[in-house]
């Protein structure tokens, strides 16, 4: 049964992965646990090692050290064709000399599935990716989105234990990409296969993933659910890579946080000492009435630099007293628009105590 993947989904345990290309170290002592049936995304800039990790999982690249366990079985030395892992390639890698049917039937043919069952399963896979009736088409007669779906059908038709996807949507245009994100997400919900997804598009990662592992320079900086990753970044890199951030230098003394001569309130426990960066998302900054600290809102005096109207929202660039530029973004509600500041006007920026997040200043 094609719809029974949920029962066979297996967890992946990755530990101690080292990879060097020549003298260049690409992955350092990398560990990662993926739960059975989870949709986990490796997110990072190019060169962060996310694709290399995926290639090691698929068996196309040999690691220098480490362990990959799928449901408790070590697979690190297993050749790729015995791993039973489905993969969707960035450029789809469809076989140009075969039609859609034979592309999707390929993994079944290797597994000596009977002709009748193959036809039935290919038909069901085509149905699943909404390509019913296109089995006889040649690959070069398909649009980009259709090729993507064929690649997907081919990767799941043999009911693999794990599905890997290497930036599968990067070649599609924006609207199709957003549509396919939702479709992939729904397909994953229906089939429940353990999925490792690679992308450099943070929006895509946030839209689709159960958890996101942010990679940078061969290490995992943070693994968390999308909401936690956005609201509570743990490093400067994560805060800067996911979404927009204002970084405001603060100092911690005796468990309280100081920006210049102002004591800031924060709902999380403050680090006891040292210089840190306060991470504030542009939409978490608000325009407040006066310079006094009121309740749980931190107030920072600033001067308006420029206000840019963007239709649904506006962006306000302001300069703090220490000369640092910060960005504020708010939706164009009528009450906000009514008291939009003018360039040069002194204002007070408010930050709720619960939105104050500190990261180490590297």
């Amino acid at each position: 049964m094609l719809l029974s993947l949920a029962q066979s989904a297996l967890p992946i345990g990755i530990s101690g992965i080292e990879k060097r290309f020549g003298g260049l170290s690409v992955l350092h002592d990398l560990g990662l646990d993926v739960a059975a049936g989870e949709f986990l995304t490796l997110l990072g800039p190019s060169g962060s090692g996310k694709t290399t990790l995926l290639m090691i999982l698929a068996g196309f690249v040999r690691a220098n050290a480490g362990s990959i366990k799928v449901g408790g079985d070590e697979i690190i030395t297993m050749p790729p064709h015995r791993r039973n892992i489905g993969m969707v390639f960035q450029n789809y890698a469809l076989f140009p000399h075969m039609n859609v049917f034979h592309n999707i039937a390929f993994p079944l043919k290797q597994r000596r599935v009977s002709a009748a069952e193959t036809a039935e399963r290919v038909e069901r896979a085509l149905d699943l990716v909404q390509l019913k009736g296109l089995g006889e088409r040649r690959v070069d007669q398909l649009s980009g989105g259709q090729r993507q779906r064929v690649a997907l059908a081919r990767a799941i038709v043999f009911e693999p234990r794990i599905v890997l996807m290497d930036e599968p949507l990067s070649a599609l245009d924006k609207s199709l990409r957003e549509h396919m994100q939702i479709e992939l997400r729904n397909l994953h919900r229906r089939l429940g296969m353990t999925t490792v997804y690679v992308t450099h598009d943070q929006r895509e990662a946030i839209t689709m993933s159960d958890r996101i592992a942010v990679m940078n320079a061969g290490r995992i900086e943070q693994i968390d659910q999308p909401e936690a990753l956005y609201a509570r970044p743990k490093t400067k890199f994560v805060a800067g890579f996911i979404g927009e951030s204002n970084f405001i230098p603060v100092e911690c003394r005796n468990g309280s946080v100081w920006y210049e001569d102002r004591k800031l309130r924060m709902s999380d426990a403050a680090p006891s000492t040292g210089r840190h960066l306060m991470v504030v998302r542009p939409e978490k900054l608000r325009l407040v009435a006066g310079p006094e600290q009121a309740g749980d809102v931190n107030a920072l005096p600033a001067t308006v630099g420029d206000v840019i109207y963007q239709g649904d929202s506006f962006v306000c660039y302001a300069t703090l007293k220490d000369g640092r530029q910060v960005t504020l973004r708010d939706y164009c509600r009528s009450d906000v628009l009514a008291r939009l500041p003018a360039p040069g006007e002194p204002i007070t920026l408010g930050i709720d105590a619960q939105d104050v997040v500190l990261v180490a200043d590297q």
Partner: protein, 307 residues
């Protein structure tokens, strides 16, 4: 009325007809210009291809006495030596093409799998013979293969054989010499087509459960076929008209079509018969190309009809 408003709303004309005559005249002028630019090329094709072939065909219709007759063509069916030459020519072409595939496919595969730099160096060795005269290379093979040549001397000195092996001045010599000369013609298009195979397709094959051997058989080999077909066609057609190597390496025992032509014209001065030989070779070659095209599809014989 200003110019702008006149062109936006011309009086008494529909929008479709706006400037239609001027645009049509412009299109005609462009076609004439294109034709003028093409004419030197067209003239060259006419002067050096159409005219000589037409002349050849014309010549083949006259017998030795200058009378219009079909005797030059009738000879192919009447004289056994002609038929034998024809068979020999095809036999040599088949065997040489086969040998080229046998040696060339693994060679091209190895080249395509090497790192870029190493492949570049090895390709130079494949292309190097191209820069040497066919005559020189054929004599070099004679030195190596003849009764008292390098190979036979070594084999006898080492006691492997008692009698020198018949390697030159026969069919084997012709095949060895021609295979060496034809190999690059097969390897180069094959290498190019192997190089263009997406490595992700091979990875996908293995990922989907095909062993390395199965991936080669089901994906790499079919995808390399267009290049192989190109190479086979080039080698086979070149073999049919080859002269120097069979003339020198055959020792007079292997008479190919082109040698027959040379004999007919320079030895017997029978231009009509020689021309008829040429016309038949041309016809057979074209028929073969057509057959290849039909068998492998337009895409497979990519050299002369790339989509």
């Amino acid at each position: 009325m200003s110019i702008v408003s006149a062109s936006l709303a011309p009086a008494g004309r529909s929008d479709r007809a706006l400037n239609a005559d001027a645009l049509a005249a412009d299109a005609r002028r462009e076609s004439r210009g294109m034709l003028a630019l093409l004419s030197p090329g067209l003239f060259l094709v006419f002067a050096v291809i159409i005219v000589p072939i037409g002349w050849l065909f014309w010549l083949s219709l006259f017998d030795e006495t200058g009378q219009l007759s079909a005797s030059n063509y009738a000879r192919f069916f009447e004289q056994a030596s002609y038929i034998k030459t024809f068979v020999t020519t095809f036999k040599v072409a088949f065997v040489v093409t086969g040998a080229c595939v046998l040696f060339g496919y693994p060679l091209a595969y190895m080249l395509s799998q090497l790192p870029r730099r190493a492949a570049g160096v090895c390709l130079i060795f494949v292309i190097l013979p191209f820069w040497t005269s066919v005559l020189v290379r054929t004599y070099a093979w004679l030195v190596i293969l003849q009764r008292k040549g390098l190979i036979n001397t070594w084999l006898i000195d080492l006691g492997v054989v008692g009698q020198p092996l018949p390697l030159a001045n026969n069919f084997a010599g012709v095949v060895i010499g021609m295979t060496h000369i034809m190999l690059p013609f097969l390897v180069l298009p094959l290498y190019a087509s192997m190089k263009s195979i997406d490595t992700d397709c091979l990875r996908a094959g293995m990922n989907l459960g095909a062993s390395p051997a199965a991936t080669f058989r089901q994906i790499f080999f079919p995808l390399s076929l267009p290049g192989l077909a190109s190479g086979v066609v080039i080698v086979f057609v070149l073999c049919l008209g080859f002269f120097v190597t069979p003339a020198l390496m055959g020792g007079g025992k292997v008479i190919m079509w082109a040698m027959r032509m040379e004999q007919t014209t320079s030895l017997y001065s029978n231009w009509g018969a020689g021309a008829a030989l040429g016309v038949v070779l041309l016809g057979v070659t074209l028929a073969l190309l057509g057959l290849f095209q039909w068998l492998l599809g337009a895409r497979a014989t990519g050299v002369w009809s790339r989509r």
